[in-house]
């Protein structure tokens, strides 16, 4: 057992545990907080995998903006807990079966088709240089310029959409 493997196991267990917490927690606030922890674990994975920029973007956008927005909406609407009552009693067992099938399928494909030989080492000092960030920016703004622009327009459209959806007409009761 080397150090990185121990780190990986700790993080993986935390990630799975927090995902389970998301699934099982009664209160939506706790679910959101579990998801934040999960995102933090994934951010650390990105750091281990030599992607500091993506890790920081993950924390800033997911943990800092998206989940705060979720919490904001949960608190604004006051919907921490839903009243009891199951409309579809057969839904839960069916869902678990479907998830098990999905997991089995993914596992089968992974072990049958993926190249399992490659070992991922911790990144060296080269991940912590400005050159790597510059190269990444060059790729982003040359090769992927069109997707970048499309994404920015998508964000603009989403912003307009969010405002239109929640805006009250004049005279409409609150």
């Amino acid at each position: 057992m080397d150090f990185t493997l121990i780190l990986f196991i700790i993080l993986a267990v935390t990630a799975v545990a927090t995902a389970a917490g998301l699934l099982l927690s009664r209160s939506a606030v706790y679910a959101a907080l579990f998801l934040v922890l999960n995102f933090a674990c994934v951010a650390v994975f990105y750091l281990i995998l030599g992607a500091p920029f993506v890790a920081m973007a993950q924390v800033t956008v997911y943990a800092g903006a998206i989940m705060v927005l979720f919490l904001f909406v949960i608190m604004l609407l006051g919907v921490e807990k839903l009243p009891k009552g199951d409309v579809l009693p057969w839904q839960r067992p069916l869902a678990i079966v479907a998830a098990a099938i999905l997991l089995a399928e993914a596992g089968f494909l992974l072990f049958e088709r993926a190249r399992t030989s490659s070992l991922l080492a911790l990144p060296g000092a080269e991940a912590n240089t400005m050159d790597s960030l510059r190269e990444m920016a060059t790729v982003l703004f040359n090769q992927y310029l069109l997707p970048f622009e499309v994404t920015s327009i998508l964000l603009l459209v989403a912003m307009v959409g969010a405002i239109v959806l929640t805006k009250r007409e004049k005279g409409e009761p609150a």
């Binding site: 500091p52 924390v59 705060v68 919490l71 604004l76 240089t129 960030l133």
Partner: protein
């Protein structure tokens, strides 16, 4: 990664956290004394000489206060919230360099920086963006409508001003050509970014005031309207932690502002001085940093003493309608100026402050047209 490395990080981090905690105590003293002077008073001067023991007396008082958890509050989150609030305030300054002259200690070269990472500015951004959790959870878990309103207000406010804050970071990144903090400070040897991007600095300072909920943007803890907002149910040490977080955030953002816009550890070189020069060579960086932080903190206290709290809808309108477009415009003019300086003539570098001042003027024009208090017709 060796044991030595880990030990170095731990010790540096511990020292910095201790400095922040002591700094918190004496920042409250500094603020009370400065506010008192502005209000033509004296301020705390009883405990110890010049009242220097006042923070300790306050701490002792807070420790012995009763810990109180409201009925039907969410106990776990109520206890966790102050800790979640404090942690980002303590860790956010880990990437700020305090000096550029490494020194030898126990055979190791020690740098004046806890973590030298290439995404330093982004790190600051991301930690700043998670700082809101503690306040929201404190507000929500208190089971008190005023605390809740304070928490919601602070969420909306911090998310809104984060955008302008992040974009003002981008102007600095463009000017320095790097996201590594030490490169940014070193790039200011030709001139502080305060001179190159004055309006960017103004946006940064305004947005950080809103981020740390300081007056005039202290909407989340408005005493008069919300009964102190998110921390109205807190007492004793839990309140002390929230308080500590607020003041440590002040120190942190002043440190960051000093590094990004005020030349960080740069200043007149004193290492040529006869007797103490050899020693000053190493510590002048931290000393300059301290002086800049001290002055910036005074600025924050001064603003608090001067400006009344602004109304909530105006705060949001100001953030979204003025600061955000202005900071986008600043990024544009900064990029244009850098391009011109690269391709045509280096003197075009000085078109950046001009263009930025013009943009700032236009923003004030926009503010004058839309946000100005309407004059009521008087009979």
């Amino acid at each position: 990664m060796t044991l030595g490395n880990v030990l170095e990080w731990l010790i540096k981090g511990l020292v910095w956290v201790l400095i922040l905690l002591g700094g918190f105590a004496y920042l409250t003293y500094y603020e009370r004394r400065a506010l008192a002077r502005i209000q033509v008073r004296i301020g705390p001067n009883r405990a110890g000489p010049f009242g220097l023991l006042q923070p300790i007396a306050d701490a002792i008082k807070l420790v012995f206060k009763e810990e109180f958890i409201p009925a039907r509050a969410d106990k776990l989150l109520f206890i966790l919230a102050p800790i979640i609030t404090l942690t980002p305030a303590l860790v956010i300054t880990a990437v700020v360099p305090f000096g550029n002259e490494p020194f030898l200690l126990f055979g190791r070269t020690i740098t004046w920086q806890i973590a030298d990472i290439n995404v330093g500015v982004l790190y600051i951004m991301s930690i700043a963006s998670i700082a809101v959790y503690g306040i929201v959870l404190a507000g929500w878990s208190s089971n008190n409508k005023y605390a809740m309103l304070g928490g919601l207000r602070s969420t909306a406010q911090m998310i809104s001003y984060e955008l302008a804050l992040g974009l003002s970071f981008v102007t600095v990144i463009l000017l320095a050509g790097s996201t590594r903090m030490i490169d940014i400070v070193e790039a200011q040897r030709q001139g502080w970014f305060l001179l190159l991007q004055p309006v960017g600095m103004a946006i940064f300072l305004i947005a950080t005031l809103a981020e740390v909920n300081r007056a005039p943007f202290d909407m989340p803890e408005a005493e008069q309207e919300l009964a102190a907002g998110y921390h109205s149910e807190y007492g004793g040490m839990k309140f002390a932690l929230l308080f500590m977080a607020e003041y440590d955030k002040m120190i942190a953002i002043c440190t960051i502002a000093a590094a990004l816009f005020f030349g960080g550890y740069l200043g007149p070189d004193l290492s040529g001085l006869p007797v103490v020069g050899g020693f000053l060579k190493y510590v002048q960086g931290p000393i300059y940093m301290f002086l800049k932080v001290f002055i910036l903190l005074f600025g924050m206290i001064w603003v608090r003493a001067t400006l009344p709290r602004i109304r909530y809808d105006r705060l949001m309108a100001f953030g979204w309608k003025i600061l955000l477009p202005l900071s986008l415009a600043l990024i544009f003019v900064t990029a244009c100026g850098i391009l011109l300086a690269q391709d045509v003539d280096p003197l075009f570098r000085w078109s950046i402050p001009l263009a930025s001042l013009v943009a700032g003027f236009l923003a004030i024009l926009g503010m004058y047209q839309t946000l100005r208090r309407k004059e009521h017709a008087r009979a």
